[in-house]
């Protein structure tokens, strides 16, 4: 039975499956991955679904190969994705860097688990957030999104493909084991608009493959389309040819960063929960934000006006949003399943204006609302 690409309607599915369906709905027709817990449901669903919708699924020999295949498939014209967890994410860093340097649109899912190393393969963590930002060598910008529910996992996967095409950059979905395995209602819309790839507007003899449009993103000519371009991970000029000069390098790296940073307002998404009158703000993301929700209610029962900024776009870090938050509240509590990663960013932006307290756990389980509440109480006591 040939499958429907968009399974419009209401479903009961977990976050991993929602990511798989979001990818297909967004037009993803190439998926390469290597087995790893807790990503399995994404790969298994796509192994079942992609052949039925004219797509290609391949289980590669390792995550190095999976990420390389995704970059290759994108140059073959496909919307392409891979999914993994911490250990595999480490192996993907090399070719995430290639995708950044060659401006290859693609989506990478990291279903985070307890780490470092093999850590806790079957239990939750949020310890890869800084790796998402800086894991590949060199200075670059990347977009990372953090879903907090299966519905959001679907929606953000669709969005990830759109952003990857818009900016020609890998977009990371930084989810976690609990959201990945949590079953909830997922509503798939009747139609999902397919993000277009930016096409060359001039004939091949006049096309410079890395000459950017005014918004700093160049159009993309894929293989077999007659443009016969050269693509390299070396520092290159507008022709795509290697240029080993410091000037070319600085110009390229700045453009790769600026093309994203200059337009961050376009894609910075967050959820403000009870922030209007809040004196204490929780900053959290993913599953930790779900737990913090309960703590907000407990705090309000005690008369503490607590609200939450839930980060959905984690990278680039939403500096202006957090800065304006720090102007309005008396204290900030950062809740995350690591010993302080995004809290470094919060502290950097808050600049000591108000106290910042971390409610940390290295992973293996989610927080309790009471733990978050005690963080809220602690910052409330700060004067």
């Amino acid at each position: 039975m040939p499958g429907k690409a968009i399974l419009s309607g209401v479903h009961f599915m977990n976050g991993d499956e929602a990511i798989a369906e979001g990818a297909i709905a967004a037009g993803c027709r190439f998926f390469a991955a290597y087995p790893i817990t807790p990503q399995s449901e994404i790969a298994e669903r796509l192994a079942w679904r992609l052949p039925r919708v004219g797509g290609m699924f391949i289980q590669m020999e390792d995550e190095l190969g999976a990420m390389a295949a995704v970059v290759g498939a994108a140059w073959g014209g496909a919307k392409a994705m891979t999914a993994t967890s911490g250990p595999g994410f480490s192996l993907m860093m090399e070719n995430i860097g290639l995708a950044v340097m060659t401006e290859t649109p693609c989506v990478v899912v990291d279903v985070q688990r307890g780490a470092p190393s093999t850590g806790l393969p079957t239990a939750v963590g949020q310890g890869d957030m800084m790796q998402a930002r800086w894991g590949s060598h060199g200075h670059y910008e990347i977009i990372a999104l953090c879903p907090a529910s299966p519905q959001e996992a679907f929606d953000l996967t669709v969005r990830a493909f759109a952003l990857s095409e818009r900016f020609r950059v890998p977009v990371l979905i930084m989810t976690d084991e609990v959201v990945g395995h949590m079953y909830e209602r997922v509503e798939i819309p009747a139609e999902v608009p397919e993000a277009p790839r930016r096409r060359p507007q001039v004939p091949p003899d006049r096309f410079l493959p890395f000459e950017p449009d005014p918004d700093l993103v160049p159009p993309m000519a894929c293989a077999g389309e007659g443009y016969r371009i050269h693509v390299t991970g070396l520092t290159h000029d507008e022709r795509g040819y290697p240029d080993m000069s410091a000037e070319a390098h600085d110009r390229l790296v700045r453009r790769l960063c600026d093309k994203i940073l200059r337009f961050r307002d376009e894609f910075t998404v967050y959820e403000a929960v009870d922030l209007d009158d809040a004196e204490i703000a929780v900053v959290s993301y993913g599953i930790s934000a779900r737990v913090a929700h309960g703590a907000l209610a407990l705090a309000r029962e005690q008369g503490i006006k607590a609200g939450m900024l839930r980060l959905i776009t984690a990278w680039p870090f939403p500096d202006p949003v957090v800065r304006s938050l720090a102007d309005r509240v008396r204290g900030v509590v950062v809740v995350e399943l690591n010993l302080g990663q995004m809290s470094r960013e919060v502290e950097r932006v808050v600049r000591g204006k108000v106290p910042v307290i971390g409610v940390y756990h290295a992973g293996g389980r989610i927080h309790t609302p009471e733990e978050v509440l005690s963080g809220i109480e602690e910052v409330q006591r700060c004067r």
Binding site: M56, G65, A66, G72, W75, A223, G224, Y227
Partner: protein
């Protein structure tokens, strides 16, 4: 930003390379050393491409990192200079996403068989439609001549200053055992035979592999007192024995001894894409 186009150097005034149409002439001269075999290997590839008569827009070249990796930068085709060792998985993604494209991986022994060795054996096992051309110069030339997975025993390199004590790969045997549909080996002296093998390999479906033995006079040749590039070719002329259909196990290369070249494997078996598409048809879909 305007870019400067370098004038095309003319070695012999008024004479142009007959395969110039496949070259990014604005990138010449190339970076390879005098006496290196890469120019010959590239030229055989271009003649092979011309013989095949394919639309150049339907051919993509994927390279990894190293001296051979630079080939992707010189061909006027869709060409991808990827990360070290990852040319094969990149090419796998490219081919599977665009099945009508002819995808050729052109890289070196260290790139394909040390850092990228795992990808090679699995691509061969899957019989993905790729042609893999491996220039084997017995060391890592670009980084200064370090020991590689094909360096012969006792070979002197910058990281085996007392002689190599690691057993080298026999690439012909490795490719055959991993499941390649076509396996050949020639030297850069065997211009026409190498071109013939490239044509056969590119025309054939499935994973096809050609090992190209090449001099590296600047590094491996100099350290092991093999003379200049021409002397290494003379060595090939003296020691290469053509044995089509020989047992791949017998294709070991031992310095000072004769070694085998020729076509070792040429078999038919379903490719990855054929198998995948058959499954899709069973499901009633189409790709």
């Amino acid at each position: 930003m305007p870019v400067k186009a370098k004038p095309i150097p003319e070695a012999v005034p008024g004479v142009r390379h007959p395969m110039e149409k496949y070259l990014r002439t604005d990138r010449l001269p190339h970076i390879w050393c005098a006496g290196c075999g890469l120019g010959s290997a590239l030229s055989c590839f271009l003649y092979a491409l011309d013989e095949l008569g394919w639309d150049p827009n339907s051919v993509a070249v994927v390279s990894g990192i190293g001296c051979t990796g630079r080939i992707a930068g010189y061909v006027r085709l869709d060409s991808y200079h990827t990360t070290h060792g990852r040319a094969i998985p990149f090419a796998t993604g490219l081919k599977l996403a665009k099945p009508d494209l002819h995808v050729v991986v052109f890289s070196g022994d260290g790139d394909l068989f040390a850092i990228g060795g795992n990808h090679f054996i699995h691509a061969a096992r899957r019989n993905v439609d790729l042609t893999i051309l491996c220039v084997n110069n017995f060391n890592y030339g670009m980084t200064g001549g370090q020991v590689g997975p094909t360096t012969p025993l006792e070979g002197l390199t910058t990281t085996t200053p007392y002689g190599n004590f690691e057993h080298p790969f026999n690439l012909v045997h490795l490719a055959a055992s991993a499941g390649a549909s076509y396996v050949a080996r020639w030297t850069t002296l065997d211009g026409r035979r190498l071109q013939r093998a490239m044509v056969e390999a590119m025309r054939k479906k499935g994973l096809t592999f050609v090992e190209i033995l090449s001099p590296c006079p600047t590094n491996y040749g100099r350290r092991n007192k093999l003379g200049d590039g021409l002397d290494e070719l003379r060595y090939y002329a003296k020691h290469a024995l053509i044995r089509h259909g020989a047992d791949p196990k017998e294709a070991e290369i031992v310095p000072g001894h004769d070694f085998l070249v020729g076509k070792f494997v040429d078999v038919e078996k379903p490719t990855y894409l054929e198998m995948y598409e058959a499954k899709v048809r069973e499901l009633g879909g189409k790709r």
